[in-house]
Symmetry: C2
Subunit: 115 residues, 2 copies
DNA sequence: TCAACACATCGATAGATGTCAATATGGAAG
DNA sequence: CTTCCATATTGACATCTATCGATGTGTTGA
């Protein structure tokens, strides 16, 4: 607890016990990465605006190809932000509120940690 | 409001009025992108754990080069998540709670939008 | 069984990003 | 003025990612 190097005294507390652990950071970063794309954010907002949303309603408003939309929904799903259910011909997407809530609380931790 | 194409009737509401606008999506995605990196998340957690944090305490715990740390702090700052103040030899970093709060509310919008 | 359709996967390509060593910048101290 | 030190910037490189066309997969309906 007592710094050996005098330099530490100049810069304040070098303690890093409360630093976010590397594995946790990697996982959290992955979820944020899923949100770090304008197309995916708009996709998510469309899916969230209805209780359930059919894939057939995603392609047109975003003006992207079918394979691109598929790529993005897969990424959001891999991050746990949406889930898809294949019903009949189409896949129906739904948001996962728990994952959004978890993200919010991870931001709150950062916020609350300061005085 | 009345769908012209019978196909619309099969897939539910194709209305996209409430879709996140493209410029807003681009901006929001930029902020999330700043959080989409494990090193930056750990950086942020260190900065948030103290009231103010000197750059000289960031390099060692993250095991990254000086230029890499500088690169990351610059990205967090560009996203409005932290601010730096040059005082004496060192730069002192502080988180911006308002920006974190804004992010939280943007997630809340997605969450609340659904029934 | 077969044709049509929704969605996933593959291959390719252009652009973005993390990382570091080297160098530049700019303030502090002598 | 000059030296030293903390930080920013540059250049280079490897990796990742968004995008699309083409193709594969599996289900629907005739």
């Amino acid at each position: 607890m007592v710094p050996d190097d005098p330099a530490d005294l100049l810069c304040g507390d070098p303690i890093t016990e409360h630093t976010l652990a590397e594995p946790d950071a990697v996982e959290l970063a992955g979820v944020f990465a899923a949100l770090a794309d304008p197309v995916r954010l708009r996709l998510l907002s469309i899916i969230a605006s209805n209780d359930e949303t059919c894939s057939c309603n995603l392609e047109a408003p975003l003006a992207k190809s079918q394979s691109t939309i598929s790529h993005h929904t897969a990424k959001l799903a891999a991050a746990g932000l949406i889930v898809g259910e294949r019903r009949g011909r189409w896949t129906w997407w739904r948001v996962v509120p728990e994952q959004l809530a978890a993200l919010q609380s991870s931001l709150r931790v950062v916020q609350d940690h300061q005085a």
